[in-house]
């Protein structure tokens, strides 16, 4: 089942989505599998068979989940998104293939671009596209940039990019159309860890500029 709030990228709407995602985590019922937040919608995954077995009298399982969801939503009027106190720092060596072009098209220097990108604290709106790919935003208007007209067939793992007003990191090498401004030496998604993903939706992230030497010293890829 999908709960749609809107079809826009907006911090206030996304915070509602994530607050609902967090509210579900505290309101388990048998048959609820998981909830998945996106920019402005939340998917509720459930097992029809299990819900029906636990509630034999209900006519529609979908109706049951819908009513439950409405109850959760109405109970969270002023509930604010629960952020961890900490801000996740991500080191970036700003050497991306599109760094110069993005700066030039915005009429700024690459040094200014780095300053602007590292200045702000970003919100993880959602994770999707590939395991651990966090869509973060919003970047300052002065560094916003459209996607590449034709995507690269291979973007290296750890690449940091900008697409429109969003910024993100490719956890794995893959095709991709985001403009690349740098590279992080840390693993965003590590299959060997019991909590493999560095981020979760709702986290706050700050980028820190590092030198080539430090990048090489840390490089986990």
């Amino acid at each position: 089942m999908l709960v749609s709030f809107d079809n826009i990228i907006d911090k206030t709407i996304n915070e509602k989505v994530i607050a609902l995602h967090q509210a579900f985590a505290k309101r388990f019922f048998p048959g609820l599998i998981e909830t998945v937040p996106a920019y402005s919608s939340l998917a509720v995954f459930y097992d029809t068979d299990v819900i029906k077995k636990n509630n034999p009298k209900i006519k529609s399982v979908f109706g049951f989940v819908k009513a439950f969801t409405e109850q959760v939503i109405s109970g969270m009027d002023d509930v604010m998104i629960q952020n961890d106190e900490c801000i996740i720092s991500v080191p970036v060596y700003y050497n991306g293939d599109d760094l110069g072009a993005v700066a030039a098209s915005n009429g700024i220097t690459t040094a200014e671009l780095v300053n602007i990108h590292t200045e702000k604290i970003y919100l993880v709106f959602m994770i999707g596209f590939q395991p651990g790919f966090a869509y973060m935003g919003e970047v300052d208007k002065r560094i916003a940039t459209p996607r590449l007209a034709s995507p690269r067939s291979k973007v290296p793992a750890g690449s940091v990019g900008i697409a429109g007003s969003q910024t993100g990191i490719y956890p794995f090498a893959s095709p991709g159309g985001w403009k690349l401004i740098g590279q992080t030496p840390i693993k965003i998604f590590d299959v060997k860890k019991s909590e493999p993903c560095l981020f979760k939706p709702g986290d706050r992230v700050k980028f820190v500029s590092i030198s080539k030497t430090v990048f090489k010293k840390i490089n986990e890829y």
């Binding site: 749609s4 826009i8 996106a38 402005s40 995954f45 029809t48 590939q130 395991p131 651990g132 981020f199």
Partner: protein, 326 residues
Amino acid sequence: MSIKIIKQGVLTTLQDLGRNGFRAIGVGTGGAMDLFAASVSNYLAGNDDSNTVIEINYPAAEILFEKDGLVSLAGADFTALVDDKPMPLWSPFIIRKDSVLKFKKPAAGSKVYLAVAGGWPAENWLGSSSTNLHVKAGGYLGRSLCKGDELQFEATSLPMNRQPSWNISQFELDKIYKPANIIRCIRSVEWELMDATSKNNFSQLQFTVSNQSDRMGYRLNGEKLNLSDTIELISSPVDAGTIQLLPDGNVIVLMADHQTTGGYPRIASVIKADLPKFSQLKPGQLVSFQLLEMQAAEEALISMRCLLNEIKYGCHFNFKKHFNID
């Protein structure tokens, strides 16, 4: 050593029912494409449905057994042979030490599941043994089985002197797999964005499974479908069975290894009860969609689970009787 891959297949992966709970960090469920056949292959071999099975595609792997085992095949008919003798589908059999299991030709379906009594050993990742090919985790080193790979299975204490004889009836299988080319679905979030002709065409016309089909999704070709207005959607969650309308007017049905979010309009969803049947389609085959209401989709899923339960009890009863287990 228990089995050894002596000839590599096109895609041979260890799978289970999939992993839940990690979609929010971008990790999809994965798992067997045909969950019905995967579960039944386990039941036939006396297992629970959570055991790991091998999902085999055609051209299929050839597998040398280095010890006796009670195995079963369920799903596609690839004309299974053991030492050149035909072996049954949907029925367990004992395979002897030093025998080779191979598959001669793809007669029907696209995926066959091989289960062994006791289950195949597999690497568990985030609560599931399903192979995640993207991040290379779970199953067997997170990849397809290659020539030379070996899998140990638990030595069984069961007497292997008599071939088992239980099977799944055609009558039961037809409930899941027939009619083969009619796939039931429900309207999805962006259904109403399609123009009237496209809505009509979706449920009236036939589509062809494209050869650009894999564990992530099956692309279909046919009459192009259109939206009434152009609309730019932002990424939103998707599921196995979600039918997305691509910019070129063709559709893709997302399968077990799909991405967790997507930005194309979701016009409909294949109902869970028809995903086993749909997953067994091959490139070139025709398919047509039949629209259902949500309640009918729920009833179909509940019936499938009931059938699976009956099959489980039947198989386990026969298994215990055959091996004199109390």
